[in-house]
């Protein structure tokens, strides 16, 4: 078996101690995914596993053998920054709405928001969802703040981050 990373097959590490985060950064040289706290408290290492947002620092790479992982490098269509490359709409929105300062938490924020939107579409409630019987979730700012609370921004760019995510995913947004 192998781990599919952004559509390419990768051999899982022989040493089972290697975290998915270290595997991505040090074996595959995919440096977009960031190491913040390395203990599940900050969200900087968030990636998508079969479309679900997870923390790659608390994941052992071997656990993801046979599964499909998407990192920030895999979100853009084509090679971003090169001819024909197009940023994911949320990446563009983070630029347009000042969704970052230093940028360290940004890949985790964006991967987290992509997973968050999929959760909301299928009706996953949150701590602030008033009506648990509802199958449709309207992503208000309160909902977005709660649903993005697993991603910390030390620069304090949270307002821009929520603006960017609202532009793409809030109730009434086109996409």
């Amino acid at each position: 078996m192998s781990i599919s990373v952004n559509g390419s097959a990768a051999e899982p590490p022989e040493d089972p101690r290697v975290s998915l985060l270290d595997f991505l950064r040090e074996r595959l040289q995919l440096h977009g995914t960031k190491k913040g706290c390395d203990q599940g408290a900050c969200g900087a290492c968030t990636v998508l596993a079969d479309g679900e947002r997870i923390l790659s620092c608390l994941a052992l790479a071997v656990q993801y053998d046979g599964r499909s992982v998407t990192t920030i490098e895999g979100l853009a269509a084509g090679a971003a920054g090169e001819p024909g490359g197009v940023l994911h709409p949320l990446q563009q929105a983070f630029i347009d709405r000042d969704g970052f300062q230093c940028g360290y938490c940004t890949p985790g924020q964006i991967c987290s928001a992509v997973g968050m939107a999929a959760e909301a579409r299928r009706g996953v409630p949150s701590h602030v969802t008033a009506d648990l019987s509802a199958d449709q979730i309207a992503l208000s700012r309160d909902e977005l703040r709660e649903r993005m609370s697993g991603n910390l921004c030390r620069c304090g760019a949270h307002n821009g981050i929520i603006d960017a995510i609202s532009e793409i995913y809030a109730a009434g947004a086109v996409r």
């Binding site: 599940g40 608390l58 994941a59 959760e119 609370s149």
Partner: protein, 328 residues
């Protein structure tokens, strides 16, 4: 991190066989165990990854809901039957950890997570009877604002950190396990042990025993239930006090009630005394407060956590008032 072997068993039979080895541990989502291994607090020689074992959520012929041990926390909270029949459970899960962690964490892993007591984690500088049995406890005379006021002992005052388990305790949930001797069922309220003289032994599970499912019995009053969590920040923090409660009233009196507390005790704390004090009483603030007083009568606060006694009483009263249809 100490070197270990990693295996994915084909089925429960295979898992039990491999889990019987000395130093073997079952691995769920890894959100707690991997962190503790990195800190060298947990040092298993073999990890048996049981996330591939059954994780379905199924309604049984008897009317209960069976949560497969490998079901992810998010999957439980979003399940329609959980949201409508057991809303306190959906709310408890959504009040815990972060969305990423809930996507990884399993039902069984949530039951068996370790305390977040800072002295338990501080292997380089603190004594802890959970980490090194008999060593002593630096929390009792230390910074103990977050520690237990109920169920503690002279050896340990660490709280059980789970939100999900608080709802399960209130819901009369039953844990299904398997071992070489066969299967058994244990009420959730009897799964975790009080610390006593041996805080390092946290559950009644035997070595190698595997949790296979958690069963939620049909409990009509749970449709009117909720979970309230009081914490230092609005999200992504452990409970100072939490209350899971379900209330059934008729003609202004309490017909039946379920209450459990989190953040205040060494195990998920079923509030039996408060429930007993409430049945048949008027469903109003006075009885709610009296029931809360009864439950907290044996509270033993430490130097920094005395606030939890009154906070727990007020939170119990507020949650019951909310369920009774009043302001809270």
């Amino acid at each position: 991190m100490k070197l270990f072997t990693y295996a994915r068993p084909a089925d429960a039979e295979d898992a039990l066989h491999q889990g019987a080895a000395d130093g073997a541990r079952y691995l769920g989502g890894g959100t707690n165990l991997v962190d503790l291994m990195r800190e060298t607090i947990e040092r298993p020689g073999a990890l048996i990854d049981v996330t591939g074992l059954p994780g379905a959520i199924e309604e049984t012929a008897g009317g209960s809901l069976l949560l497969g041990a490998a079901a992810r926390n998010t999957a439980v909270a979003e399940h329609r039957a959980v949201r409508t029949r057991y809303p306190m459970l959906a709310r408890a899960i959504m009040a815990g950890a972060s969305p990423q962690i809930r996507n990884m964490a399993t039902v069984a892993g949530n039951l068996l997570q370790r305390t977040r007591c800072a002295y338990f984690y501080d292997h380089a500088g603190s004594r802890c009877n959970k980490r090194v049995p008999g060593q002593g406890c630096d929390a009792i005379e230390g910074f103990n604002r977050e520690h237990a006021i109920l169920g503690a002992s002279a050896a340990c005052v660490a709280t059980h950190p789970s939100d999900m388990c608080v709802a399960l305790a209130a819901l009369d949930a039953v844990v299904h396990t398997r071992s070489a001797d066969g299967g058994r069922t244990v009420p959730l309220t009897e799964l975790h042990r009080l610390p006593g003289d041996h805080p390092e032994i946290e559950t009644i599970l035997q070595p190698g025993e595997l949790v296979t499912a958690v069963e939620l019995p049909a409990l009509p009053l749970a449709a009117r239930s909720t979970y309230r969590k009081v914490r230092d920040r609005a999200s992504y923090a452990f409970a100072l006090v939490s209350v899971a409660a379900a209330l059934d009233t008729r003609g202004g009196a309490v017909r039946d009630v379920r209450i459990a507390l989190g953040g205040v005790a060494t195990k998920p704390w079923r509030a039996w005394r408060a429930e007993e004090a409430l049945r048949g009483r008027p469903a109003g603030a006075e009885s709610f407060r009296a029931a809360a007083e009864a439950e907290l009568a044996d509270a033993r606060p430490l130097a920094d956590n005395g606030f939890k006694v009154e906070l727990a009483k007020r939170t119990i009263t507020a949650v019951l008032t909310e369920l009774a249809g009043g302001e809270a």
